[in-house]
């Protein structure tokens, strides 16, 4: 049971990583990051069955922080869109040396 849950978690995480690395759209990159967080959450929950309640506590904490992060992140995306007129990360390169 745990093995299957961890496998799903790993697949979800890899999907998230590939999405972050390959996509240019800030919203999609953001969503993929959320996917990675939730993949980790899944493995926490699965392992909590073996190692006690600590895993659940972590999950609650990650979800809280993810909520806060979503609020800040989406606000940044909106201001990026207002500034550059696009949410393509390739166009946000003002700091290149």
């Amino acid at each position: 049971m745990i093995a299957e849950a961890l496998a799903v978690s790993a697949v979800l995480f890899c999907i998230g990583v590939v999405g972050v690395l390959t996509r240019r759209n800030a919203i999609i990159v953001f969503m993929c990051a959320e996917l990675m967080l939730n993949a980790v959450n899944l493995s926490f929950v699965a392992l909590a069955k073996m190692h006690g309640v600590t895993g659940h506590v972590f999950v609650v904490m990650v979800m809280t922080i993810a909520a806060a992060e979503a609020a800040v992140g989406l606000a940044i995306v909106i201001s990026v869109f207002r500034h550059f007129g696009s949410v393509d990360l390739g166009s946000v390169r003002m700091l290149r040396g």
Binding site: V20, L21, G90, V92, R93, M94, L95, R96, G97
Partner: protein, 698 residues
Amino acid sequence: MKTALDGSIAEYAWLLPLLPLLGALINGFLAIAPRLSGRGTTGTVAERELAAGARHAGTNAIVSIVAPGVMLLAFGLAVAIFATMRGVALEEPFVRVFARWMPVGELVVDWGLQLDQLSILMTLVITGVGALIHLFSIGYMKADPGYARYFAYLNLFVAFMLTLVLGSSYAVLFVGWEGVGLCSYLLIGFWFSEKANADAGKKAFIVNRIGDFGFLVAMFLIWATVGTLDFVGAHQALAGLGGSAVLLSIALFLFLGCAGKSAQLPLYVWLPDAMAGPTPVSALIHAATMVTAGVYLIARASPIFAGAPEASLLVALVGALTALFAATVALRQWDIKKVLAYSTVSQLGYMFVAVGTGAYTAGVFHLVTHAFFKAVLFLGAGSVIHALHHAYHHTHRHEDAQDLRNMGGLSRYMPATFAAMTMATLAIAGIPPLSGFFSKDEILSATFARAVSSPLANATLLGIPGRSLLYAIYALGIVTALLTAIYMTRMLLMAFTGANRTGAAEQEALHEAPAIMTGPVVILALLALAGGWLNLPTLIPIGPVGALEHWLEPVVGASAARLSGTAKLSHGTEQVLVGIAIAAAVLGIAVAWVLYRRPLQDKAHSPADRGFAGVLANAYNVDAAVDAAVVRPLDGLAGAVLTRGIDVGVDGTFSAGGGILSRTASLIGQRLQDGDVGKYAWLLAAGALAMLAALTLR
């Protein structure tokens, strides 16, 4: 340890070095004070110069009181301590420790002073002769812009010299030893705006480094062997090691130090150049006191040298060779100070013969009488140079004021100086009953007596029996005595008799030195006359016999006995020896009289130095040889290392290499941080993977 001096005036011995040190501080402050306060003066240039002149005169007046004042106070204190010591029988040295200097593990070195018969004698000579030379300097340096600086150095020198002779351990002695070296350097290069003078100072310092290396190694060996550097403790502990290899090495390394400081072969090369300093400095440092520090050290370390007869033989041999070598060079020098410089090297050789043969009293005796008559000669030469310098200054001619060829007939202009220098010349030549005769004769007859029968004669040096060596040393000593009489008489006749060669216009300006200069010279000349009474031989009992011998008995008596045994020469032999010594002196004077009775008519008539005379005039070309063999290769090596090694190699590699390195690093950073978030994410992922791999794939 309780001694008879506890609670007496000897408890104030610490004032002896501190008084000149105080003088040095005051004069040193006065020397730099104008530079500290001279800024921000207003007024015209003329007004400012007037103010500076007035300030200068005021400063000089204070210096003229302070500098000789502290010397006279120190001399008074030394006399008081000496008087107290005469009243009590002091068998053990009086040692006072004032502070802990270096407690490092087992090595504990204290700031301590040691008063005994030897150190108080040296103190009397240093402060007495020193005070007279300070007084002379007031006249000699009167017009010099560096007046206060000069006296600051001179006072500092005396403070270090007293530290040297009063120190209670090898370490404290070494402080004084290095301190006088520093002051010697400062005073040789006193007129440092001329490169030759500054170079002479550096030469003295560097040559002395070689000797100081020996002294340091000797100290390391002493400490490693007995665990203390105090004279009392170390000598007690070393007494049982007589004849051992370690004692021999200590003695040899100590002698290396002495040879450097006291200008013996082969480290004498710095002393003739040291004449670049003001002449009173030559009198005080390079004749009367500092250069005799080596003789003092061997007398002080006599328990070490008595336990190493081979080293003692070497000391005597080197001394005899130096005496002869320098005397031959002095025969053909034209510079009046060079004659005296080589003469000093030669006389120091005599002192080393004495301390080498275990005749420590004779060595110290000659040290004292030499301090008297050589101070007269140098100060007299100073008066002559002073007079000639002023004469040439008067007529604005640029001539060498030290060249004997520019002198002649000066006895008419400078009768007091002439009288004093004649006295000193007869003393150094060894004419009885002047002081030099007694001290030199004691050295020569002591050498002969050791050769006839003594433990030293039974020792060997590199397979040569000590007896033959001692006879050879005696013969060298007699030849040197003959040469001494010749070159000194030559100098005297050249400078003071015959026609004057200074120049027709200059003769108007030639005059005797002021009283502040002639006074000390005359006092020293009287001392040179009467110095022999310090230690009269039994053969000539015209006063208390062997006073110095008795006085120094507690310090060096035991060591002298170990080297020389108890055998005495018969009266008949002694009379013959005295006769030979007097004959050598008289013959030397006669030869010089015949050769130089009618000196040069003028400078142009001076004979060219051809053949061997030329070699002598160039001092055997030793300087050129040292230059070619040591200085140039070292200079070239240093140039190669510094220019090609450091400048081009290290500096080039590091500055160029550093530039390339930082440029490459910045290029990499620039490519990485180009603002592309996707690239950052890739790198992040790659990093995370790498860390994961590092953690799991072990």
